[in-house]
Each structure stands twice: as C-alpha cells, then as structure tokens.
Symmetry: D2
Subunit: 310 residues, 4 copies
C-alpha cells in the first residue's frame, strides 16, 4: 500500500476530529474509520462513513419510534429470523461507504454489482498513479484443469520468473509511454515544449488492466452482504476475494449480530435442489443411494457429496 505523506496526514487529521452526535454510533467501527486496510500489493479498503448499526435493522423491522431494541438476545433472534426468511429490507436500512484502491480488472468485476453508488477517479480529468498489480509468487497460477474459469497449480521456476517479468515490464513500459504521450510538466507546462501532448482521455487507453484506480463506493448492508457472499466465495477470483475478506472484517466490527447470522445462513450455508433433497431423504432413511438413478448429474452428485463430507 503506498500512501504519500500528505495522504497519511490528511487521514490522521480527519481521524483527530470528533463531534457529538445523536445518531447510532459503533465504537468498534469508529476505531477503524478512515484507516486504510492494505489489500494486494498497492491497494486498500478504508471505511469513510457509515449509517446505522444492528439496532437500526431491528428498528426498521419493527417500524418503532425509538431505538427499536429490547434486549440484545431478542434483537439477535429477530435478526436471525429476518436473515433465515430472507426478509431483506430491514438490512437495507444500514449504509456504509468505502474508499478503495484496486486494479482496473478487479474494478471491472466489482462494478457489475449495480446497487451501489460509485465515484471513480477520472482519468479523463486527472493522471493515474504509477502503480500496477503484480501477483505475489503464490498467486501466479496456471489455468485450472477442472474449472474453465479458475486457476490451478502455482507456476514454478523459470516460467514464474518470465511471467512476472513480462507483467512487470509491460505495465511499466505502457505507463512510461502514457506519461510521455501526456507530455505534462510538473508546473502544468509541457514537459517537452516542442510537443502538444496527447489528451488524458486518450492517453489512458495505453495503460494495462492491472493499473490501479480508486473510487468511493457506497452500499446498503443487504446489498453489501450479497456482494460479499459472491466475492468472498471460493469461486471468486483471488484478487477480488482479497478485497471482500478485508471488508468482512469491517462488517463484523460494524454489525456483529447481523454478521453472525450472515455467516451461518449465507457464507456457511448450502442450497439443496428438489432432487438433492429427495436423495437426502433416501440417505437418511438408510438407503444406499448411488449417483445413477439419483436424478442428479455426475457433477451435481459430486458437489452434493462434497458438501456432505462424503
């Protein structure tokens, strides 16, 4: 993670300010506020604002005049009930805002979640930093042999070194040429007075997809949990999963009761189809069920047995 001295100072200045508020406030999240949590080699996630807490979920579910809370245990029970029965709207009553620095190819996956508010750093207007993602050796992997959209064994030896060097040198060269084409000097004057310089909105097209961008991203708790259930999943690409995992920690600090219910009913849960349920009932009745005749494809059978630990 590469913050400049000025950026660190801005963050610390903001952390030093405090005000009195009548709003729901979560000390554990206040502790984290504004601080950048490092992700990948140059990225970060930092919480820059939030609205509501576990009590706000309960308050909305009850449409109450006050805090809505009764006892902590009752509230947790209600939250579990809402999560189990997919009563999703009370979870929309909490909101969180992140500032994220992330590679462009990760941003392209992330932005597919449409129910969020986004302000991205504009490369039409400004110049991007000289930062690009280069995978650590343990993340430089071959195509998976079983999953057409996943990765398999880690690359080794010369191949790993060559790949790393290609990624590094191509990103560097493209960035250097980007700066060169822009031809902007430190003071706004042309670096080379003999050239006009290419417009920023054009020059940026020379950058590689591992270049870092950044954005402000704001989302309600329900849609955030949906995002996390997909992106913290083992099928998600490692690079976006790294962000999702950093964000899970912020959710746990923010709304612990909701997080516990989410872990049980979403992250650790499994969906059984009608056909799988029929198989399960036969198995529980003591029958020795085989894939053939189960109504499940070989692939589904494998997935089901995996889940059941068989």
């Amino acid at each position: 993670m590469s913050l400049t001295e000025e950026q660190r100072a801005e963050i610390e200045a903001q952390r030093a300010e405090s005000a009195a508020t009548r709003r729901a406030t979560v000390p554990a999240l206040e502790d984290m506020l504004y601080r950048a949590i490092p992700v990948l080699d140059h990225g970060f996630v930092r919480v820059v604002d939030y609205m509501g807490d576990d009590g706000a979920v309960v308050q909305a579910a009850r449409v109450s005049y006050g805090r809505g809370t009764r006892r902590v245990s009752e509230d947790a029970g209600l939250i579990r009930y809402l999560m189990r029965h997919r009563h999703t709207t009370p979870f929309e009553m909490c909101e969180i805002k992140y500032h994220v620095k992330l590679p462009i190819f990760v941003a392209r996956q992330w932005i597919r979640h449409r129910t969020a508010n986004v302000n991205e750093y504009s490369a039409r207007y400004s110049i991007l930093d000289r930062e690009f993602y280069l995978p650590a050796p343990e993340h430089l992997a071959a195509q998976s042999e079983v999953n057409r959209q996943g990765r398999g064994a880690v690359l080794e030896g010369d191949e790993a070194a060559q790949v790393f060097e290609l990624l590094r040198s191509d990103a560097s060269r493209c960035y250097d040429h980007y700066v060169d084409m822009l031809n902007e000097g430190a003071d706004g004057a042309p670096a080379d007075p003999g050239r006009q310089g290419l417009a920023r909105e054009l020059a940026r097209m020379n950058l590689t997809l591992n270049t870092y961008t950044q954005w402000y991203w704001k989302c309600d708790l329900h849609n955030l949990l949906h995002f996390l259930s997909l992106r913290a999943d083992v099928h998600a690409q490692y690079e976006i999963r790294a962000y999702a995992e950093a964000m899970l920690a912020t959710v746990q600090a923010w709304v612990p009761a909701t997080f516990a219910a989410f872990r049980d009913y979403r992250l650790g849960a499994v969906n059984f189809s009608a056909a799988m349920l029929a198989v399960l009932r036969r198995m529980l009745a003591g029958e020795d069920v085989a894939q053939e005749g189960s109504g499940l494809s070989q692939r589904e059978w494998g997935e089901m047995m995996g889940v059941l630990g068989r």
Copy 2:
C-alpha cells in the same frame, strides 16, 4: 399529529443520548433529529439518521483522502458546477433516513420512486391505528377544468359539508368494522369469545385509502432531490406536496450549499425545447413572434409565455 405519550418518551429518550463520532456531522440537522414535523392532520416526517454533508459531495467528486474540502466558497462553486452539468453521482454519496406517517393513497404515489429503501408497518402482522386523513376545508376542491389530473375551485357551503361528512363517516365505519372483524381483545384473547376473528391480512382490505400507514424510508441525496423536484412541484397532488415541503426544510438544514444549487438549477429552472429556443432567439432579435408559425402548439406556447412572464 398524534403521538402517544409513550412514543414521545421514546423520541425524547433517543434525543437525550449522545456519542462521539469521527463522521461528518451537521449540527443543524442534529437539532432536528428524531423530532416529528407535523404534516396534514395526523401525519409527520422525522429524520432518524443521515450520512454525509456538503463536504461529502466534494470529497467524492475529488476522490480525496481527507475531507475533500478546500474553502467554503470553492466547495459551493464545485457543487453548483456538478448540479449544472448533471454530474449526479457525488450527490449519491449522502444518505438520509426518514420515519413517515402518511395516508395510504399518498404512500401509493410515493412508493413509485423505486430508488429508495422502505420498511412499511405491516398490516398482515399488526393492527393499524384509528387515524385517517380528512382534508381541511381549503383543500376540499373540485376537479380542475383545465387539468384532467388536478383540482380547481374549493368546495363551498353544503357540498363541502356533505363531502367532509361522507369521508369522515365512511372511514370511521370501515375502521370500526375492521376492528370488529378482527375481534381481538386487549389481552390477545378474542373480544367476543364466540367468534374466531378474521385474519389481519384480510381484515385490512376493509380500510379506506385515507387510513394512515407509516414507514421507514431511506434514500440518497441525488434521488431525494429528484423525488422533491417532482413532489414539491405545483403539479403534484397537494397531499404529497405537503410532505415534500416538510422534507425540503430538512435538506436545507443538512446540505445548505447543495440545497441552494438545487433551488436555482432545479426547483426554479425551466427546460426550453429546441423549438422554444428558436422562438426565444427570434424574440431577442426584436422579432414580434406569434404562436402561429412558431412551431409550438397552443398549449406549449401558453406554457412558454407563462414562464417568461408575458
């Protein structure tokens, strides 16, 4: 507005609590927080939470590490620029949550704004209060003769009295029968032990559309301004406009620079079509333009001259 003693106590209890926060905080809105602003005869709007301030708009537009603000005048200038050029995403970075009590027919118009989060009091689960909207004499009006979806002259004399009495007695009778069909005693036991009582989800269908309901409604600032530009407009039905106007006051307290820009570029602004613009240029060139030959329909001509104060 009819709050019970218990509700008032809950509100005051919540107002009495205070916590320290590092988040953007707006004292003028904190002053209003939780307090019910009366609307119509039994309704209210009250702010129950908020996220961000004018500075948050600037911060997101600049994707900055700190508060994003420079000087107040610069910030206001940027906010005006964003509003003028319809750069809407930075305004999505602020969020506000209201608790609203409103007649069902108003709720049906309101809910058409889809980009908001809503938790409504459930009449499948609970029993609605005995409250219905009855227009004040000055709002009991005839159908407009020029606008097929508006109202015209105020009703007078006997007709006004009769209409009021019909609205009052039908709402009352329907509510009384609702309670009667429910057959629920104060202690949960049947009021009349000889009857089962009708399910709440069915009994509610006997209520009239002026019965009050309530909800938690949460929205980002951009979509809130869009809502207000439509619902605080003179073409909106008076009853929803009354809510919009109460909400305008909360927006002004919350984000004064954004509100000023909104008033200038939205509320008080006018859209001229290509054909109107052509007429305008001819008029400014000193030409005496008539509707005939203007390319505008009589209706459009009238609207345009009205706007120009001619």
Copy 3:
C-alpha cells in the same frame, strides 16, 4: 373476471393481427398472448408482450453472434448450470410484460418489487370501476395461531356470513359515495348541476383497499423468477399467490428449460445453514441428534425436520 364487450373485442382484434418477425418467437406463448387469465373474483393476468426465449439465455451466456444454441440438451444443461451457480445475468436478457387487474391491497405488496416497470391506471385522471375483491368462503379465514402474519382456520357459520356482508356492504357504500362525490354525469356534465363535484384525486381516498386497480407491469426473467419464488411460496398471502400461480403457467409456456431448472433449484429447493449442515452430517454418520445440543433453536429444528420429512 369482468371484461366489457368492448374490451373483449379489442383483445380479439389484437389477437387477430399477425406480422412476420426475425425475432425469437415462442408459439406456446403466442397462443396465450393478450388473453386474460382469470384470478380471484374480478382480476386477471394477461401477457401483452415478451422478448426472448430459452435460447436468448444461452445466447447471452455465450455472447454469441447467432442464436447461441447448440443442441437442446446442451442448452438445458447450460441453463441448469447457470441456475445452480446463481449466474443470474443471462436470465435478465428475457423480458415479459403483463396487464394485470388486481385489488389495491395486493398491488401494495406487489409494488415492493422494485426492479420492474409499471404503469398504473391513474385515479387522479380517471374513474375506477365498481369492482372489489370479496373472498370466496374457503379463503375467509381466522388469524393463524402459529404465524403472526398468516391465516388459520376457515371461518364458519354466522361469523363467515357477517364478515362477508361487512366487506361487501362497506366496499359498496364507499364506492357509491365515491361516485356521488365525483358528481360526474355520463356526458361530462355534472350529474347534479347544483354541485361542483369533488376532484378525482381526492374522491378516490374514500375507496376501500379491496377495490380493483390495474397496471401494465414489465419485468426481466431473472427478477420475475425472484418475484415468483417469493410470491408463489406458501408463506405469501393467498391473494397474491393466486396471481403468482397464474404467472407460473405463462413462464412454463415461455421458457420451459428455465422453468424446469427454476422448479428444481428454487421452488423445490431448501437452504441449510452452516449449523443445519453440521447436524445433517452427524445424522448421516448415524448419530442420533437431538435439538438440544444441535446449535439450532427449537424453531429452526422444527423447520429442518419438516423439510427432511421427519
């Protein structure tokens, strides 16, 4: 269902028209097109347009240049895969539009699904028909004793008759007064020349919530399936479930492969939490698991055993 002769004629006239198209076309749905499927006592659902078919899901998933289809069995397999792994975007590539006549209290539940396009008949602009929903005897039920938002035993004898009569007479009287307050004659002139008549936007508030309204409702296939999974569910109120069930039949005619996958992976599927999964593994290992010590609440335990048929 009450269509006027004129409406029936309009529908038949539209059914009689035919045009040649290069678009994906589904004969089974063309057969249904425009015809009203009766729901409840006066309501209906009718398909008025559609875009795409099962092949369009496949085409989008493959981002192909032609139809995208290979063999029917391969396509069905891909559709099952997409449904199982919640790859939802290809299902958004199909769209359907319904014209629905429905009681207002059902419309209020329905409209909570925000990802749809809606045009409702405007009671500010027009006069509603004299039609209101009155439950058939078998749907006139008491409050459930186990579910705070459901219904239980059917009402019997005098109570049933009295409730029915209250619903009928209140709705009738309110409608009659609505018409009376409007004071509109058949020719646009006042019915009673001595009165101005109340504006439509005000008079409508006197109607009861079982009055029928109507709308055009358009939705993509993914969001339609989400709507149907919630509203065709046994926990949904009967009255909206009746609409969902009529719509299921149209989906089955339209996209049979998607419908089959939906039935297996959504309608008939079950979600096991992490804690339930742990119980399941112990049961399959032959252990005699009891609720106590299972990590499940009594309620969850009951739900789980119900699903497993134990």
Copy 4:
C-alpha cells in the same frame, strides 16, 4: 469491423429465419435486425431483439386493453406531452437489446449506466480477440485548454506519428505477451509443452485498455434515451459518442414519434436556472443586461449567451 466468415454466416442464418407473431412489430427495425453497424475501427453495434413500439408507449400511458392507439397524430401528441412533462414510465415499456463490440475504456464509461442488463464476454473463461482501438488521425488530439476533461487541437506531424506508433506497438506487444503467457495451442494442448501457461483470469491483466471486448446490453427505452442524451452529447468523449450516434439511428427506426419528441425536448433543449430566467426576462423587457450584476458567474453567463446565439 472484423467479423469472421463464420460470424457473418451465423448472422445471415439468423436473418433468414422468420416467424409469425402477434406482438407489436416494427418493419424498419426488422430490416436492421442482427446486422452489425460499424463503429470506430473494429467495433460495432447490432440490434438483436426489441419489445414494443411507439404504440406500446401510448398503450401503457392509457392502460388500455387493445393497442391503445387512436390516430397517429393523437398518439404523437400524447408522446410529446409525456416527454415534455417528464412522465417517464410509459417509455420504460419498450425494451431493446444490443450486441456491442467496444474498447475496454469505453466499456468502463458505459457500464456506469446501471439500469441495464449486461452479459460481457468473460476473459476469465475465454481468450479475447487480437483487436485494439487505434484512433484515426483526426481523433488524435491534445488536451483541451479550456476543458479539463476534453480534448482540443488535433496532433500533427511527428508527434501524431509517434503517439500512434506507441499506442500500436504497446497494445500489440501486450497482446502478444498475453498469448505467450497463456501458452494455449490450437487444440487445447500447451503451445510449449515445457510450460504450464498462466490462468486466463490473470493473463488478461496484461492487456491495454484499448483492447476490444463485447457484450449483450439490454435497456428500456426511457433509460436508453437518458444514456443517449448524455453520451451523444458534445461533452461526451468522442469514442463513446460514436456508439451513441449509431444507436440513435436504431431508435429513430424503432420509435419515430418518440425519437422526434426526444430530439426536440432533450437533445436540442436547454435548461435555464432561476437566475438565468431572471436575466432572460430582463432582456426580453428590452433591458441591456451585463454579466456583472446578473447573478451569473462569468462561466454561466458565457454558457447562456452561447445558447442564445449572442
């Protein structure tokens, strides 16, 4: 535009198929259906499906049982009225689906419009084509001196040649290394058996932002018009504007009455703020108004006088 022979054949095969339908059908759009309209050097837009026509807007606005149309002139008048008064929901009742080939940096602007359905070609799953956008000489321009996010004078002579060569060679080299790192032979076996090959989801990060991607993109007419009003605007970056302009032609063929209203009330229209309106009134009253004392900033004054052709 570079379609393979196979792709052309698939498109022609689909164009050759025809079916009878009862749905609203637009011959002018049927003529265009599936055909790729070239955009930029290798991109295209092609309409792959549509739902509704001008009549569907009218039908929904009237919530009618049949086609909803009366006379063509009446329908056009209603459509103009809806457009003028921002009654947007009837325009949501039409839907169109495009298949688009576009550079990644254009896709990143485009995807910010959230109210659309998208399936993008997956570079986790498949290998991207060797195609990248290289601006034609007349589009290779310097940074604008007046607009921080626009372009100004066209580059000339050596600088133009050098910039073009940098863009070309960097994109080529990055693509070649992408293929090299993938190490995939034509038959699925490794190109170089001594290497494992890098996973597709990783290798893609080496590509430059002018590499072409493709997607299916589906949108309702209202949101499409909003997209076009922003992206066919002179402030939009040329490269996305080129797509918007190609799409405008498809909208004109599809819904001519809506398109005419859109051109008048949106594309050619102008928004005057409250302060501008005050200035206008003074000017029309014959007053000689100057910027100073007008209440407008110099920038706003300039924009206003530009619009008025002064």
